[in-house]
Subunit: 351 residues, 2 copies
């Protein structure tokens, strides 16, 4: 039997994101994904909510910026703040974002080149609307200079690059802007939806790039079939998988010996877009994502059918929304092989 | 390849315990164990600490009794409080213990017989000393009447049964007292250390029982080799594994059809001690425990050797304690098959 030992390098990850009691978003899904792939995870929870906010009602409380800093100080004091990588997700408020940035910069400063890598999911909004306070946006712009890999969705990429993405040209400009302005080494924009980027209406693309030594983009795209349902936590699952697969791809690169000792794991200029470790990583991540989402959609349809049958039509809009939200929770715990050994293959292509 | 789908029944668990950012105790280990075995886990964290208290220093904060209640109210409001089982671990303070008891009783009252099962780890102390406030003890005594399976260590069993365990007779009396006084259906005392119970100095025993209809104990013991090192989180790992394996054993019992619809899954009076589902469950759990602890001890020795070499003898007592505490963290994430398919077998025997 294949064991996880053979799959990924041992990796100690600090994951800073939200916690929900029920369901699968933020650290609740990121910690499980990382641990399932064999990583030790220090999970610093930025909130504890009963459920994710997509339900439109929840209870719980936020961790204050002071508590975030204090928890990190606690780790340092007991010599537990030795991390290979950091993953940051939802952080409540500009001051807390600043506190997390301080942690990442300190961890980076005390590490040898290539020995610390920060994957930042700049959680700000989606589908054209902001769901954090407006002062969080400039805070993220400041922090971008310290991140190694950022994973904005299309809306967040627009905010950070100050470029409206409407076609292939503006998409390329947005990526180039992110490299130019913030010197952010690796960018992966999740779920890009542009008419005619892929010539098929039922597909989406992930678009990524690692900059060259003169900050030139090396863009690639991976086209994958869209699933006609909305799931919460997909960005968090994507980010956790990227953490593991990025390190795995860098360790498996032909020039791994030097690359793992290079700051931010930036491949030499002669490495072509389709040969970048970040492209290898994103391919594998999308295989896992597609399998989990396919299983989730199937289970969701079954659950909705059985629930609506039981309720016999007697449901108000809110009740229907709650049932739909619950049914759409990601189905991960009974499908661990989708994470470990995805059979599905998507290949990176030139832009 | 064997997948988790074939191993355990789908089980929705509410786990109420502590959270540590770094390391493996409380919900940090319980949630991963339960999820690894295919359970959906609602993890309600009673504290968020940087690390476990065995390090003798930590940062973080406790969840208040009001917050615990509020998080549960949040789940109820969104129809997310449908659980097959509940696991409770460390709860800070008597009022919080009372709040958790209220949750368990409410979940039990709204469920059909056999459709809700509460596994309670009455965390109060170990090795002769209390590490909670004294008013927690009577609160647990009150709650015991509502629990289905309790997992005290030897010290906690003494506190709850008000019987000092020194030999086989007093051990049997303690178990009988727990059934008699609190009508608690299933008891498993973890790590019993009694001279001559097993005729070998390097072994420990787990001792368990399911009461009959007239509250008579049906005691069994499982003897296993002691590992000469102290690890934190073993009780939490044991409890999480017992949750899964108990339901699995009940569902696999010859009389599963009726047993799963019987309140507290109490086997008929003619079922002998060694045939009890709780004995089956404990056997399997101890196989996993022994494998994880063996791997942990090996890794601990390696880590201590390499760390003390680097430090070259220049360490004060506190530094040495911190290094030892870190090295003794349970090694789970790279040994998932120890949880899923333990190869080690320990058999229950008559007392």
């Amino acid at each position: 039997m294949t064991t996880v030992e053979h799959l990924v390098p041992e990796t100690n990850v600090l994951a800073i994101a939200s916690h929900v009691v029920s369901g699968y978003v933020g650290n609740k899904i990121a910690a499980f994904v990382l641990q399932s792939l064999g990583c030790d995870v220090a999970a610093l929870n930025t909130v504890q909510f009963s459920n994710h906010t997509g339900y439109r009602q929840w209870k719980g409380s936020k961790t204050t910026p002071e508590e975030i800093t204090s928890l990190y100080e606690g780790l340092k004091k007991s010599h537990l703040a030795e991390f290979d990588m950091m993953l940051s997700g939802y952080i409540p408020g500009a001051t807390a974002v600043e506190a997390v940035g301080h942690i990442a910069r300190e961890l980076n400063e005390k590490a040898l080149p290539g020995r610390f890598f920060w994957v930042m999911d700049p959680v700000m909004g989606d589908n054209g609307s902001l769901y954090v306070a407006p002062d969080v946006v400039p805070e993220y712009r400041t922090l971008l200079h310290s991140a190694d890999l950022i994973l904005p969705n299309q809306f967040e990429a627009e905010l950070l690059s100050e470029t409206k993405i409407t076609d292939l040209d503006s998409l390329t400009t947005a990526i180039q802007n992110l490299h130019d302005r913030y010197a952010v080494p690796h960018v992966v924009i999740t779920s890009v939806s542009i008419p005619h980027l892929d010539h098929e209406p039922s597909t989406l693309s992930v678009v990524g790039s690692t900059m060259t030594s003169d900050r030139k983009a090396r863009p690639f795209k991976i086209v994958f079939p869209a699933i006609d349902a909305y799931f919460s936590g997909t960005g968090d699952m994507f980010a956790a998988l990227m953490v593991v697969r990025m390190r795995e791809a860098v360790c498996a690169a032909p020039d791994a010996e030097t690359l793992t000792k290079t700051a931010s794991w930036i491949s030499p200029d002669d490495v072509q877009p389709l040969d970048l470790p970040v492209a290898r990583a994103a391919e594998k991540v999308l295989g896992s994502m597609h399998e989990v989402l396919t299983k989730t959609r199937e289970a969701m349809v079954r659950e909705l059918e059985s629930k609506t049958e039981v309720m016999n039509g007697e449901m108000d809009d809110m009740m229907m929304h709650l049932i739909k939200s619950k049914a759409a929770e990601l189905r991960l715990v009974r499908n661990p092989n989708c994470l470990r050994q995805p059979g599905t293959q998507f290949k990176a292509r030139k832009m």
